[in-house]
């Protein structure tokens, strides 16, 4: 764990990344591996988990989709405002691919961007399939292109690129692309589909999961998925681990710890 487990940072820049979605840059010495996450405290509001999308030269970047109170408050911060980080926590992505493919849904592109830029700095590039409901929800497309990755776009409504889901597009692309490892992040239904498709052609890979997180450090149990803790054993899991996890794609726990079927 980095010595910077708890640190206070100021917002130095905010950029619109998609509809209701912002990339926020903080002055911070935190060193995060792709796939790891931070617990970010918006003072007076809430403390929530966030993947790192940028990490370079004393700057940490997050890409945040406004969903509720905390994400809204986060995106309403102004330059100079302070937040507190705990972390980085969790197991990140393995960096062993020669020819990686990324499949992102919505703001799931956030951790995959840090993964892509890390691969690029190692001289490895690959393909990124990025999906969203419609054109204005596509997130970080330009950033993947700037890194020299091949970007393939899917929108549910066909407003940009392929009409259909990211997993539909993956299924198509699998036939034409050379790939040895798949990374995916996005809505759990999509992950479930992506993994089914990958496994059908024996393509190994990893997925980054989300669960409700309170402590972030493996003590409270709120992020449980069967016998695994997403904050500690994940958030990144191998496809073959996920196959053994019956709740994956099926059920989540709410703040009170009740098991609820996924929507």
């Amino acid at each position: 764990m980095s010595p910077e487990t708890v640190s206070v940072s100021r917002l130095i820049q905010k950029k619109n990344a998609a509809k209701d979605c912002f990339s926020l840059f903080f002055e911070s010495q935190i060193q995060s591996s792709p796939g790891q996450f931070l617990m970010i405290w918006i003072p007076g509001v809430d403390e929530i988990p966030m993947s790192v999308s940028h990490c370079r030269n004393g700057t940490i970047g997050l890409t945040v989709k406004v969903l509720g109170e905390a994400t809204e408050a986060l995106c309403n911060l102004e330059e100079g405002d302070r937040v507190r980080f705990r972390g980085p926590f969790g197991q990140g992505f393995k960096l062993e691919a020669k020819r990686p493919v990324l499949v992102a849904g919505g703001v799931g592109s956030a951790p995959l961007l840090l993964l892509a830029s890390t691969y690029s700095s190692m001289g490895v590039k690959g393909d990124a399939i990025i999906g969203a409901k419609s054109k204005d929800e596509l997130t970080l497309i330009q950033e993947f292109e700037n890194l020299g990755w091949n970007v393939y776009i899917a929108t549910d409504d066909g407003s940009n690129g392929f009409k259909g889901t990211a997993s539909d597009l993956l299924e198509k692309k699998l036939k034409v692309l050379t790939l040895d490892f798949l990374y995916t992040c996005g809505p759990e239904k999509m992950l479930f589909e992506v993994i089914r498709i990958a496994e059908s052609v024996n393509l190994p890979g990893q997925a980054a999961l989300e669960r409700l997180m309170k402590c972030g450090i493996g003590i409270c149990g709120s992020c449980a998925i069967n016998q695994k803790l997403v904050c500690r054993d994940g958030p990144v899991f191998d496809f073959k681990e996920l196959r053994k996890i019956s709740e994956f794609g099926k059920a989540k726990r709410d703040a009170a710890g009740r098991l609820r079927p996924s929507v």
Binding site: V6, E47, R82, I219, N226, Q227, G257
Partner: protein
Amino acid sequence: MPNAKQGEPDIGLDFLDMKLNNPFILASGILGETADLLLSAFKAGAGAVVTKSIGLEPRDGHRNPTIYSTPDGMMNAMGLPNPGIEDFKREMDVLRKTDAVVIGSVFASKPNGFSILAKKMQDYGAAAVELNLSCPHARGYGTEIGSTPASVRRIVKSVAGSVSIPVLAKLTPNTSDICSLGLAAQEAGAKAVVAINTVKAMRIDPLIKRPVLANRYGGLSGSAVKPIGIRCVYELFEVLTIPIIGVGGIATGLDAVEYIMAGATALQIGTAVQTRGVKVFSYLQDELKEFMRKENYGHLSEMRGIVHEP
């Protein structure tokens, strides 16, 4: 110098009506909300596991941040999140089909509430019920109702009269006199006491200008409270006849030995499950056995309470 006895030291425990492989019990609130996690602690070597404290109704708990962790110790103000006793049946039903020894922890604001919850836990197959009389950060519960002997007596009496499984009273260290609380529990029919819950505490972030926990107050656990927990167990051992379960900052086999020598019969492990991982349950067994082997103890009872003067 002592000679090595033959064979392995025996760290098993016949405790109340439970048969424990070893004295290390998962403390309440740590990975205790789901059957799967409780099972994973049991499989990792816990002698028994205590559930998260369960109430009559579902509760989301306090807003985040609920945890603050430093090398000195941990602070939490989870605020007793739990699915409620009805929903928790699902988890207990899973556990019932296994050989895990499960102690059901419950909290309420009134004696009658505790009794209802304890009966449910008994119905669900819990081996014992632990009464949380000591959470320091949930309004109307825990310490607020567990810091006078009269209130402890009323609650324990109500529960002990309602169930046949052993009743354990978990006591607060946030008092000038833990012995009077322990005595009240014993007189009212508790079969054991558990000491200690967390110590009421606060830290402040000077740059954010707020307490580090959303609830402001929280409970301190981990190595910082170990000397307080050992003192409480020692004090309780001087006055009680029922067994004491020691908890607070136990992270190594030697910590366990200190608690046992102070008078603890069994031990609960909370924060160390975070700092050393769930494997702590096998490390603790190894470390305790190694100590006993070197120091020539055959059974836990040979160490229990030995620092007390005759």
